[in-house]
Symmetry: C2
Subunit: 336 residues, 2 copies
């Protein structure tokens, strides 16, 4: 069989893997942010007509899956797999949404890196001849995440300056071995990196080392420099993690000052929206990619994009048991 | 590219994907059961020397990963991916174990189907030329699972006759494009099936419909009848789910009376160990495959095995919100 690996962590796909369509749906706060016009749909009720935040999150997820499939014009029966996961315990936002579809399900857990993990694994499955069309999806919800990972919302707890705001919404993307438009060309699956950060209100700092590790692996494996890409975007490092990545990679002679940003920075207005260090959550990287970035790719304002999904792999119990926060980051290169 | 799909849900791998080695480690109860002699290691202390059940479960996981890599004689640097997941919230048993390795990590969530999901996705990645060697791993722990999904152990809650006993332990398996011995030949990724069971103490009944769905898909896709296989094994349906599968497939003219069993039935002694409907948990299917079944394959007592991992995709919150329990099942065929 043909070996598609280059370097230590990267796969160079040998067939064009097209991003056929994307769909993004967000909650009220995101629909007031600077990217509002790029999202396919927004919902002003955080409960989305449901009786709990968890049910609402799952409804966001189903809406984005169905919306994306409708946009793709591919019949549901032509999808071999749906790859999805989310932040709710046991990824129930995804599974309760996907039970309403009739598509074989490969469940993922990559925390906030999930949409990129899905697109990476999915594009490798298509490139290997295992599937023709795959849906990748993820979701998050500010209220369900705060409740599950931090404090009851009713407590009205004060937020730390380093904290980030979990994006409410869901994103889906459909990849296919036929079509036109932006193509996934490379995947770089990351290693878990844990530099000992224990503060669950400083996720950017906890995840940045994993992003640095994966970016370096991608540059070394491909022989590319940061300036090969029109834009490099991390998932949800926010302002603090973004600066750590710039500073750390500068020490390794990778200059990210000119073409690097972060979905957590893009999605909210720093001055007006009071989200402190920026956005986070599975839907942060998901909706910014499916909304804003995919639009820029389609319009050819960006032609070479490196996007790095970042995830923090802790839970409420590990924090209570004083464990540090392991991070992960997966990258895909997308080109027109 | 070559299309490797047959039927609606099955991939027929075109290259031999060898199961190079397996490793199983179990807790005290499993080491008193009928399969004790097949496990690589057993630990008599449920805390495994740690200060919490969660940390113990993660140590089980790391022990099985390291044990499996040592048995394989493949250098750690030659593994492109580790595919793993577990039942703890946000799969922290796996991620806290894997941060100690230096292998790129693809996180999965398939509940108790995880080891089969990992072997299925992993063998497709190898078959596609994306990797040469992959570790698949999973774990579960009776105490951490009871605490997280049901009641505090200290409550000494009475167990329902339909309840199953979460297996304490971890299993790993290494798959490779070189070697000899048992080979994975087909993967059948399942759909989520939810028949409305709401009783978290009757997981066998909740998961059986998904197993039935995946078994039927596998038989239809491959044109095989149950008697093609020396043995068909489901993951952790226990006595109740096992009988549901036999009865339901009989109505579709598939006779599973002669060569079908379940890991949850095999792992504990029904008369002596008081586990009611049998074993469950990610480590149930994992350790029975890595221990007992892999031994039978290597000794050629079994030459054609169909193993179907089964998972219940609920969490404690969905149960409290009166949701039913979605099930999933993934199958792989293994032949000498």
């Amino acid at each position: 069989m043909e070996n598609k690996r280059i370097g230590n962590q990267t796969v160079k796909l040998t067939n064009p893997i097209y991003i056929n369509s994307t769909y993004s749906i967000v909650g009220p706060k995101e629909s007031e942010g600077p990217l509002a016009k790029y999202f396919d749909n927004s919902v002003q009720d955080a409960f989305y007509g449901e009786q709990s935040w968890e049910k609402a999150e799952s409804k966001f997820c189903l809406s984005s899956i169905n919306g994306c499939i409708a946009k793709s014009k591919i019949p549901v029966s032509d999808f071999e797999y749906i790859l999805a996961g989310d932040l709710l315990n046991q990824c129930t936002s995804s599974s309760f949404a996907i039970r309403e579809t009739n598509i074989p399900f490969i469940g993922l857990f990559g925390a906030c890196s999930t949409i990129i993990e899905g697109l990476a694994v999915g594009s490798m499955l298509i490139d290997g001849g295992m599937a023709n069309n795959i849906v990748c999806s993820t979701s998050s919800h500010f209220c369900s995440a705060e409740k599950q990972f931090r404090f009851p919302l009713e407590l009205g707890n004060q937020r730390a300056p380093s904290s980030q705001w979990t994006v409410t919404g869901s994103a889906s993307a459909i990849i296919s071995n036929k079509g036109n438009g932006p193509k996934i060309t490379h995947t770089t699956i990351g290693k878990i990196v844990d530099m000992g950060i224990t503060d669950a209100n400083n996720m950017g700092a906890a995840m940045a080392p994993a992003a640095i590790n994966t970016l370096k692996a991608h540059f070394e494996d491909t022989g590319r420099k940061p300036d090969y890409y029109d834009l490099i975007v991390t998932g949800d490092l926010g302002y603090i993690g973004h600066q750590i990545v710039i500073d750390s990679l500068k020490a390794d002679d990778y200059d990210l000052n000119n073409n690097y940003t972060d979905c957590g920075i893009l999605i909210f207005d720093k001055e007006k929206q009071d989200t402190h260090s920026g956005g986070s959550g599975c839907a942060c990287c998901g909706t910014v990619l499916a909304g804003y970035l995919f639009n820029k790719l389609q319009n050819k304002e960006i032609n070479k994009l490196l996007i790095v999904g970042t995830g923090a792999l802790m839970n409420a119990t590990t924090c209570q048991q004083s464990e540090s926060i392991p991070g992960i980051a997966h990258a895909i290169a997308i080109e027109n």
